[in-house]
Symmetry: C2
Subunit: 350 residues, 2 copies
């Protein structure tokens, strides 16, 4: 698979189906693993890094559970290509910063991917559409099992999986759920909800993980502690919290409808109207307007569009995607024009 061929489709998890897909965009399981005979990436020299990369690469190619997997080495990769992979949530911003001995392995439908030599030797992720952490865990667990069989993994009977950062030690697992909470934001309840999440030792992040701001009413909630609990227990804990947030978002949507339906309908339809007609539009405005359109679609206020098309636009309108589609570097102004054109094409087609 060529990197460019990713442009021909969007990730499977954007399909907009699965449990509670009106509020939960996606569920993600990430596992951190390290080889037992090598220093952690930040401590390893170039030679050691290459050895780790070669060893993992070799095994990944043979795995049954990674259908049509391709491994992309970051060394020599164009910066737009790197950003493109970040925008697709296939690798972290941090991973894209340096290139030496780093790679990312991508399964053809982008359900599973593996970052090699990020903070840990192996950072595997499995993403599912909707509220479905257990299914993501099942897939990740199988990949992990067969990979562990082939590679000597750093594991302590007392501490569990050993990781570069102690917060990941134990299961090495992080479960994350990407939530769309426009009604909690509009009814000004979101700060209370986020404070409650923080108190319960969960973290909230923006669309692109650690260090990114929440925007367009999207919030990624994940477990903070990985030590001292079995994976299923951790997932059940997250699920319990997410179920409560979903209930509160649903209640807030009801409140919006019953208190002032015309105002809600106005805001949603104007958002669609602007997206369908703008000639210049920023990434930030796009996310905010698409958030309203998604809400309108979920609540039956906008009917002539499907959820997948909206989900896809969040990714396709990102800077590197626009430049890959246009096959050249674009200035910020040129991107704003191309973005508006793409959105019009996608939304006026229907």
């Amino acid at each position: 698979m060529e990197l460019n061929s990713l442009l021909n489709h969007t990730s499977e998890w954007l399909k907009g189906t699965g449990p509670n897909a009106d509020i939960v965009i996606s569920s993600r399981i990430r596992l951190a693993r390290n080889l037992d005979k090598f220093a952690f990436p930040q401590r390893a020299n170039n030679k050691q890094g290459e050895e780790v990369l070669n060893a993992i690469e070799e095994k990944i190619k043979k795995l049954d559970y990674l259908k049509g997997v391709t491994i992309f080495r970051l060394l020599g990769m164009d910066s737009v290509d790197k950003q493109f992979l970040v925008e697709r949530h296939l690798m972290s911003l941090e991973h894209a910063q340096k290139s030496d001995s780093k790679a990312v392995a991508i399964e053809e439908e982008e359900v599973a991917s593996v970052m090699i030599n990020e903070e840990d030797h192996i950072r595997m992720q499995v993403v599912q559409s909707g509220f479905n952490l257990f299914e993501a865990w099942n897939i990740a667990n199988k990949i992990d099992d067969s990979l562990s069989k082939e590679l000597g993994i750093a594991f302590s009977p007392e501490w569990g999986y050993l990781t570069a950062c102690p917060t990941n030690t134990g299961t090495g697992m992080r479960g994350s759920v990407m939530l769309h909470l426009p009604a909690l934001v509009m009814t000004r309840q979101i700060d209370r909800v986020l404070a409650a999440i923080a108190k319960l030792s969960f973290t909230t992040r923006g669309l692109y993980g650690e260090g990114t701001q929440a925007s367009g009413n999207f919030f990624q909630v994940s477990n903070q502690v990985s030590l001292g609990h079995a994976e299923e227990e951790v997932i059940e804990n997250i699920n319990g919290l997410i179920r409560q947030i979903i209930e509160q978002e649903n209640q807030a949507r009801e409140v919006l409808l019953s208190r002032n339906k015309p105002v809600l309908e106005d805001r949603i339809n104007r958002s669609m109207g602007i997206l369908r007609s703008a000639r210049i539009i920023s990434s930030q405005e796009t996310i905010e307007l698409l958030s309203m359109v998604r809400l309108g679609n979920d609540m039956g206020i906008i009917k002539d569009i499907d959820r997948r098309r909206i989900n896809e636009l969040f990714i396709l309108t990102q800077p590197a995607h626009l430049q890959k589609m246009d096959k050249k570097k674009l200035s910020s102004v040129e991107r704003d024009i191309k973005r508006a054109e793409l959105i019009r094409n996608k939304l006026n087609l229907v």
Copy 2:
């Protein structure tokens, strides 16, 4: 003609044709006349006021030049009906304040109308689409001639036509041109232009005449002095000024196109997008967005709509028009919803 039947059409001058109709909405000639045997309206008692009203009414009905004229007395007229006539520019806000002995005579296509017992006994106006003051003057002059033959008009060989306010004495004529100057506003040249107009002894007003603010980039320019010049001379003076303003607005439009066409196209298309999708919209926002759409249409940026439809919407979306169409009183919120609905129907039809 019933007052309600005015709802079945819009005024002839909204057709959006005539010289320079891309910048000049309409040209209006107003003549102030008084009967020589009666006190001015503000000095007259009820009985005198009624005598004046009856005398003028009787003559107007017989005039050849007022096709299908109907006279509406203001006494007992519903406040929404009065506002409706003001919104159509058929009578002044001032005329609508009091009702006794007041009336307005309306020619069936709304080209000519006569307010009776406003500030003067007779305030006649003739409106033409586009930049066409001389044609308006020709029509007004014929109506005035035949009316003067029938009624004794207050005229002094030294001062000319005598009027309640000395500023109108002389010809009793005011020529007004309604201009749409969005490019001069957007390029921040409008203050300089308005200052120049004021220095030349012309006045600038908003959409609804004396005391109203300019909004949506509309400016009504008219002569301040009525004394000491023949009518044709006054009109030629206004025309000279208007020709200069038209040239400056055209230059400003060229500047907008050449400097930043995408920004202009974005603003115009977004305005249309919002108008086509909003569910709640105020009168002020409507005027501002329609102004952009009119500019877009005039500059060939928006092609699927004709100028008459845009011109009409400025009038049809006014509060009394919405209530007349809906056949009941509407609260401000209800009007904002009805207005959005009407605009969607008119703009999505095309």
